[in-house]
């Protein structure tokens, strides 16, 4: 194992930078990874500090960033590591997989991070608990991992559809969990759909929601394939929780289409008297908010005919390691990293690490 790498490019020049990313979602601005014509020019992170940043800096400048570990080295884990690498607030101290030959472990090594094929046991055996553990394994594995991690007081950010922790969709719930130390990112389809169903249900009398997501086969690893039941249950549960609508259907297509299909989610709502212009305005506003952390989120089509509203959303990935069509992984990982960055500014973390009361 190599020593942890601390420098994170030129961004980590000020200790108070993470106060900037700890602000509201709108402050979040992932670094540009590949030039893209359809995006506004990126603003370097150090220019995104809000006027309130000074207030946060009044706190003692805690020298240590949030230490994190990632369990799971599939496509999700790999992209997570790349996003953590980009975050000045987070410091990756361990990437844990099961297969010593996995491409995910090799990628983490190439960035200079400590890796292990010892899985959860290696995470538990760390001399000092990590501030945050990302679980990018499978729903069944997470149910095993959580009771082991809970006593450590670590914040666990779960990227599997396990339904164990508190569900977070950044623009709807915020990224700071009110209670508990287990945050669940629902599912990729959940991240895409929840902001829309939440806004539609608040504005129109919706009697039924249907959420159909399509992800490219090449970015659906074995855990995803084995977790289709949990995906369907968890996505449906999230739609109901955040819309109040109980008649809900969630579907996931794994598409082997060539060239690979860009991640998309079709949201259908049965409602009455929805004016197409009003629907479009609601959905456009939601999309603008979601783009604050997932810049590739867009509304492809939006119609309201008779009692049926149909909205098609597409998410293009902006990532060091993902192809553009893998927006499913990009949106859930971007949300996960935001939760961890927000946690960096929380007083209760300070108390746990003994730095402040």
């Amino acid at each position: 194992m190599e020593q942890p790498r601390t420098p994170k490019d030129e961004d980590n020049v000020h200790g108070n930078l993470r106060t900037g990313c700890g602000e509201a979602n709108q402050q979040y601005s992932p670094l540009p990874l590949t030039p893209s014509a359809d995006l506004p020019p990126r603003v370097p992170r150090r220019h995104t500090l809000s006027p309130t940043a000074g207030l946060r800096s009044a706190r003692p400048e805690v020298a240590e960033p949030v230490t994190v570990a990632v369990i799971g080295t599939g496509a999700i884990g790999r992209d997570l590591v790349s996003k953590i690498d980009r975050s000045p607030a987070l410091e990756c101290r361990l990437v844990a997989g099961r297969n010593p030959e996995s491409a995910g472990l090799r990628y983490a090594e190439s960035l200079g991070y400590p890796t292990t094929a010892g899985g959860i046991e290696a995470v538990l055996a760390a001399p000092r608990p990590f501030d945050v553990v990302f679980d990018a394994t499978s729903a069944a594995s997470h149910r095993v991992h959580w009771p082991l991690l809970e006593p450590l007081g670590t914040l666990v950010i779960d990227l599997t559809p396990s339904k164990v922790g508190q569900m977070v969709a950044p623009t709807v719930t915020g990224v700071s969990p009110a209670t508990g130390r287990n945050v669940n990112l629902i599912s990729c389809g959940g991240q895409a759909a929840v902001p829309v169903v939440h806004a539609l249900a608040a504005r129109f009398p919706v009697s039924y929601f249907e959420v159909v997501s399509t992800v490219a086969s090449t970015v659906a690893g074995r855990a995803t394939r084995m977790n289709l039941d949990e995906y369907v249950a968890t996505t449906g549960h999230a739609v109901t929780t955040f819309s109040g609508v109980t008649a809900v259907k969630a579907i996931l297509n794994i598409s082997p289409a060539v060239p690979p299909a860009t991640f998309r989610t079709a949201v259908r709502a049965r409602t009455v008297g929805a004016d197409p212009v009003a629907v479009r305005a609601v959905v456009d506003q939601v999309a603008e908010q979601v783009r604050s952390f997932a810049p590739g989120y867009e509304v492809v089509s939006c119609t309201a005919v008779d009692d049926l509203v149909t909205i098609t959303l597409r998410v293009t990935a902006h990532s060091d390691v993902l192809p553009p069509y893998a927006g499913n992984l990009d949106i859930i990982n971007s949300a996960a990293v935001m939760v961890a960055e927000q946690y960096a500014t929380r007083p209760d973390r300070m108390s746990r690490t003994g730095v402040a009361s």
Binding site: E210, S217, V232, I254, S255, P256, A257
Partner: protein, 337 residues
């Protein structure tokens, strides 16, 4: 004589032709007739299987529970079949179906995606149900790829494995090569062939499949199914018998069931309409026909262009929302010059 198992998905695949609107009375009456003819397996459900009733592909007139309990009561001899697409239905749907007495389950996956069936094949095996795996849109994969995927499915626990010519694209030589390769790869379990009739080849393809070693052949009464329909069951069975295969099916009973199906299940039997020929040639799922025609008419574009474009994009079942995109693109191309 070599014994074949005839599997009848009239009450499931036929649903695509009537937008999943089969009523319980019609379902019960056909199931009784099929049972009287001693058709070995009668499959029922929404066209896309358990749990699939939705705005995306159409809401069914009857619930899964209602359809399964109706057919269960009607079958005295035949076994009851159900179909499921992972990601549409879940293990919970399978559990309920087992409770309704389903004997044979088919897990459908795209031709190159056998691993999507791993969880549910395992679930069914653990539950003691008979589990088959069918590779759909099989024209999109080579014989070698299909053989490899079929072997994987058997590794996950499939007790029969095979291919669906979902787009009705195959000619008999295509079937011979593919079934031959699969039989060679999975000699421990029976191989399934499910034909569609877009190019008028369904019966000939099914005979080719049997000759290549397939032991389970699908057919629907009057070919009831999407677009040009499926293999016509009451033609298939006697043709197989004349070709030297035993089916155990009573010919007159079979013909009676087909007559009943024509009267009570469908407004008219499927015909090989121009659009079905186009979808077969394009290699696009026949179930797209209604939506393509409807949306194309509304937008004033040629539905044949839409089909060939969907084929070019290798659109697969479940991507119905892409029809909207293609129609609007062709429409704007037309109006925008």
């Amino acid at each position: 004589m070599k014994q074949l198992v005839i599997h009848d998905p009239t009450l499931r695949d036929g649903q695509h032709a009537v937008r999943h609107q089969l009523g319980l009375t019609a379902i019960r009456r056909y199931a009784e007739a099929a049972d009287a003819a001693r058709i070995p397996v009668v499959e029922v459900g929404h066209g896309n299987g358990l749990g699939a009733s939705s705005l995306q592909v159409g809401l069914a007139a009857a619930s899964d529970d209602e359809m399964l309990s109706t057919v269960r009561e009607a079958l005295l001899h035949s076994r009851m079949g159900a179909f499921m697409l992972p990601g549409w239905g879940t293990s919970e749907d399978l559990r309920r179906a087992i409770g309704h007495g389903v004997d044979v389950f088919r897990i459908g996956v795209h031709a190159t995606e056998a691993s999507l069936a791993e969880r549910h094949l395992g679930f069914l095996r653990d539950a003691g149900a008979e589990a088959h795996c069918v590779l759909m849109m099989s024209h999109m994969a080579s014989a070698g790829e299909l053989a490899e995927q079929a072997a994987r499915a058997v590794g996950y626990g499939a007790q029969a494995v095979g291919i669906m010519d979902s787009a009705g694209h195959f000619l008999p030589a295509d079937v011979t090569a593919r079934i031959g390769a699969i039989v060679g790869a999975v000699d421990a379990v029976p191989v399934i062939f499910h034909g569609h009739n877009n190019l008028g080849m369904a019966v000939a393809n099914s005979v080719a499949a049997a000759d290549a070693g397939a032991l389970i052949i699908d057919g629907c009464a009057r070919g009831f199914g999407a677009g040009a329909g499926n293999t016509q069951l009451e033609v298939l069975v006697p043709v197989l018998e004349r070709s030297g295969y035993a089916t155990g099916i009573d010919l007159y009973g079979l013909l009676d069931a087909a007559d009943l199906a024509e009267r009570e299940l469908m407004p008219a039997p499927p015909v090989t309409a121009s659009m079905s020929i186009v979808s077969g040639l394009a290699g696009v799922f026949s179930g797209f026909k209604h939506r393509v025609v409807e949306l194309s008419a509304a937008a004033g574009v040629d539905p044949r262009d839409v089909f060939f474009e969907l084929g070019r994009r290798q659109t697969i079942a479940g991507q119905e929302d892409l029809i909207v995109d293609v129609v609007s693109e062709l429409s704007s191309r037309k109006t925008g010059g």
